[in-house]
């Protein structure tokens, strides 16, 4: 959908932000440390990593969750960032969200401790899965246990907490999930059905199984020592991404409604683009087609030209493949204009927050626009001669930008790009 003319004509206002990463809790703390070029990547202490090639991650270790399970940590972070964003927006005093909830969350599976609990609680002699009679009413494995492992439970509780209307939507588009949640919110507010939407991305899924899964795809960096230097987007010696945890939330509103209630508008989402790759389950088409359509679509949806974009918050995972393809896509979309673009990767510092990444990085992009400071790509010591981008190397840079693009590309095909603007 291309709309030319006033880029703010269909803009959706951002009135609240919340963020958690391995760097800390809250937008302010994260922004301070991102612009200081700090890394949240550490050696994993949550489970034994002996014998594994990758032993580092960006774990969120400061939430009050015990024991750490994927659903419990993902939910705790989602609630914390949603609380922060809703509080910042001041919307609760003005009638609540009164709109849809979109939550990007990792798919929930029983973790191993739960499986063993089940086995022990039921009939140790029967053998796993041999009889499906595990637990049931009156046993320790009953209804609350069932709820804990339903994919819809997290969003259900969050919707109740913040008074969201309609059926809350839980979604996954792999590493584009957080951006998809925002896109769904933008579409909802633009349709005018509801004045606001709450968009959340959360991912607390670092356990041995998930680490091994990604390691099997040869997707992870194995440069364990020192952990802080493992994530090297756009560098010649990049060797994979670093798994990480985090969450972010955005309160989206129709600008008229935000202004009418006197809310502070923190920034705008001007456009969204998306495209699915049909080439391979884990690799993009070598022609970069879907990435190009995603970026170009977002810019067109915003009513802008590529030359209007000043900064790209890159997907920038640090895998050899992604960074090459992203650079190719940027070159195709921006042509010679590529040379005046700044392109940086938050993942160099906070790792790849997976399901949450699109939301986490959108929040960082809003901060960059608000503050006129571009967060750096750290660990940039060996430039890749095939990636001729200004990656804002190693140190943050004071540089006011009016329009920025945030990219999120997923395993399994979906690519999403968002165009964001400063509040003006």
């Amino acid at each position: 959908m291309t709309v030319s003319g006033d880029p703010y004509a269909r803009a959706v206002a951002i009135t609240g932000l919340g963020m958690i990463t391995s760097l800390g809790r809250g937008v302010a703390e994260n922004w301070r440390r991102l612009t200081a070029g700090e890394s949240g990547i550490r050696r994993i202490g949550r489970f034994p990593t002996e014998g594994l090639r990758t032993q580092i991650a960006g774990c969120v270790a400061f939430m009050d969750v015990e024991p750490v399970t994927i659903p419990a940590l993902s939910r705790a972070m989602a609630e914390a960032v949603a609380d922060e964003a809703v509080a910042a927006s001041g919307i609760a005093a003005d009638g609540g969200i009164d709109g849809d909830l979109f939550v990007a969350a990792p798919p929930i599976e029983h973790d191993w401790d739960s499986r063993f609990d089940l086995l022990d609680a039921v009939d140790p002699g029967a053998g796993p899965y041999a009889r499906g009679e595990g637990g049931g009413p009156g046993t320790g494995i009953s209804l609350p246990w069932h709820h804990e492992f339903l994919n819809g439970s997290l969003a259900d509780r969050l919707a109740e907490r913040h008074g969201c209307t309609g059926s809350p939507i839980t979604l996954t588009t792999a590493c584009a999930s957080g951006a998809s949640a925002i896109q769904l919110g933008v579409e909802s507010v633009r349709r005018g059905e509801r004045p606001a939407a709450l968009c959340v991305g959360t991912d607390g899924s670092i356990n041995s199984e998930s680490l091994i899964r990604f390691a099997l795809l040869s997707a992870l960096s194995t440069k364990n020592d020192p952990p802080e230097q493992a994530a090297k987007p756009f560098s010649r010696n990049r060797d994979g991404f670093v798994m990480a945890e985090g969450a972010a939330a955005l309160v989206l509103e129709h600008p008229d409604r935000a202004k009418a209630r006197g809310a502070t508008i923190l920034g705008y989402i001007l456009g969204c683009g998306e495209a699915a790759d049909t080439f391979h389950r884990t690799r993009s088409n070598p022609d970069g087609g879907a990435i190009i359509r995603s970026m170009a679509g977002a810019i067109a949806d915003a009513g802008l030209e590529p030359a209007d974009i000043g900064y790209i918050n890159a997907h920038g995972t640090g895998t050899p493949e992604n960074d090459k393809m992203e650079c190719l896509g940027i070159s195709e979309v921006f042509g010679a204009g590529r040379d005046r673009l700044a392109v940086s990767s938050n993942k160099s510092m906070i790792g790849h927050t997976l399901t949450a990444a699109g939301a986490v990085e959108a929040v960082a992009t809003v901060q960059a626009l608000r503050e006129g400071v571009l967060p750096p790509t750290i660990n940039y010591r060996e430039p890749d001669p095939n990636i001729e981008l200004d990656v804002v190397p190693n140190e943050a840079r004071a540089q006011p930008v009016e329009f920025a693009l945030s990219n999120s590309f997923g395993f399994g095909g979906q690519n999403v790009s968002l165009v964001l603007a400063a509040a003006g």
Binding site: D156, T173, L216, A276, R281, Q414
Partner: protein
């Protein structure tokens, strides 16, 4: 009729009823044929509805694509192919690049054999973590792991059929299927896209899911029983792959696609069931879609899961349906196809489409139940309900083309 009217131009359903509209209709009218697909042996003590033999290769010719999917994804990929065939989209590169996909998926499909080995062989709790890590590092295979990613369900469909407008995956049990349809409907109505492929799938033989639902006290055990007279533990899972092609009236007419039915409305809400009344939510939804009671020309296809059939949510829905149906024929489809969780609502919308195309409804599925008293007869529209086993109340209205 408007340009933005939401038209159903294709559907594909692989279910215990078969894979063609004629087969579905025959099975819906033949209790013995339906019962033949109830399997009480596969996952005792829980009966399930299963899908019979089908030839995946006709839709997914590449062995590598088939290997990358477990049964759930295969059901869905097959149904998606049927839907694209009917809509005339298969191989239409330009149209497929503008086709937006929204699917509902549960968790991905695990390597249960590996799980079994780990659960059976694990040492005591102290050494367990390191031992499991070592087992998985040796045992997991990349292709199987990819089947564990729910978004790869849509990803596989993109790869097999080249659907590349977009790919979004909703999760969250029954509501995810209804929300996929709701979002597609809203976006089409608002001009946020012209063609959508919406679908879901569910495999009924999933021990790890059955364990979880049984833990909640939801699964029917022992022998098969009629839907409306089950105990509260009344869900009998059913396998399904269900996909619809939705299109704006303008898009369908421009490319000369046959309109099978009009999707008049989709509502999907969340009621706090501890404090609120799902029937009240459903009444509001009904008012938004049709003025007044359903009436005799409306088929009411209920997605009641069987959960709480005696005193809980299915019983509440039965009371609601008896109140609003006003002579309309009501059919509880779980009796015929089981409960397909994420795929249930979409399967029922497809069967509603078939009813409106034929202008009639099939015979009662549970003839003993008072709620299904109204017999077969002519209809012009079909209302579909979908109340989740623990959350989510959804409704859709399908109308015959004028």
């Amino acid at each position: 009729m408007t340009d933005r009217e939401v038209c159903i131009t294709g559907y594909g359903l692989l279910s215990p009823l078969g894979e063609t509209p004629a087969a579905w209709w025959a099975a819906l009218n033949d209790p013995a044929a339906r019962h033949a697909r109830v399997d009480e042996v596969a996952t005792p003590p829980f009966p399930i509805h299963t899908i019979g033999d089908y030839d995946l290769e006709t839709q997914v010719p590449r062995p590598g694509d088939r290997r990358a999917m477990g049964p759930m994804m295969q059901f869905g990929a097959y149904a998606a192919g049927l839907a694209l065939d009917m809509a005339g989209l298969k191989g239409e590169a330009d149209l497929l690049q503008r086709t937006h996909m929204i699917v509902a998926s549960g968790g991905g499909e695990r390597d249960l054999e590996l799980d079994r080995q780990i659960l059976e062989g694990a040492p005591g709790p102290d050494e367990r973590d390191a031992w499991i890590t070592a087992q998985m590092a040796d045992g997991l295979r990349p292709t199987l792991f990819l089947a564990q990613l729910p978004n790869l369900f849509a990803g596989n469909i993109s790869i097999v059929y080249k659907v590349s407008g977009s790919s979004r995956t909703f999760m969250g049990e029954e509501a995810a299927g209804a929300d996929a349809l709701r979002i597609a409907h809203r976006r089409l109505t608002a001009g946020q896209g012209d063609i959508f492929l919406v679908g879901a799938a569910f495999a009924s033989e999933r021990p790890e899911i059955q364990i979880s639902y049984n833990a909640g006290g939801f699964l029917l055990r022992g022998g098969f029983a009629d839907l409306w007279s089950r105990p509260d533990a009344g869900i009998c899972f059913g396998a399904a792959g269900a996909f619809l092609v939705l299109e704006s009236r303008a898009s369908a007419e421009t490319r000369g696609a046959a309109v099978r039915a009009v999707l008049r409305g989709v509502e999907s809400d969340r009621t706090d069931r501890r404090a609120g009344d799902p029937a009240q939510t459903a009444r509001r939804q009904l008012e938004r879609m049709v003025a007044g009671p359903a009436g005799a020309e409306t088929a009411v296809l209920s997605g009641a899961s069987g959960a709480g059939a005696a005193t809980g949510i299915t019983a509440a829905e039965r009371t609601f349906l008896e109140g609003v149906a006003a002579g309309a024929p009501v059919r509880g489809l779980a009796q015929a196809v089981g409960h397909a969780v994420e795929a249930a609502f979409l399967q029922n919308v497809i069967l509603a489409t078939v009813c409106t195309e034929r202008g009639e409804v099939f015979a009662p599925l549970s003839p003993e139940a008072a709620v299904e008293a109204a017999g077969a007869g002519p209809i012009v529209r079909a209302l579909v309900t979908g109340w989740g086993h623990v959350r989510g109340e959804a409704m859709a209205l399908v109308e015959a083309t004028g």
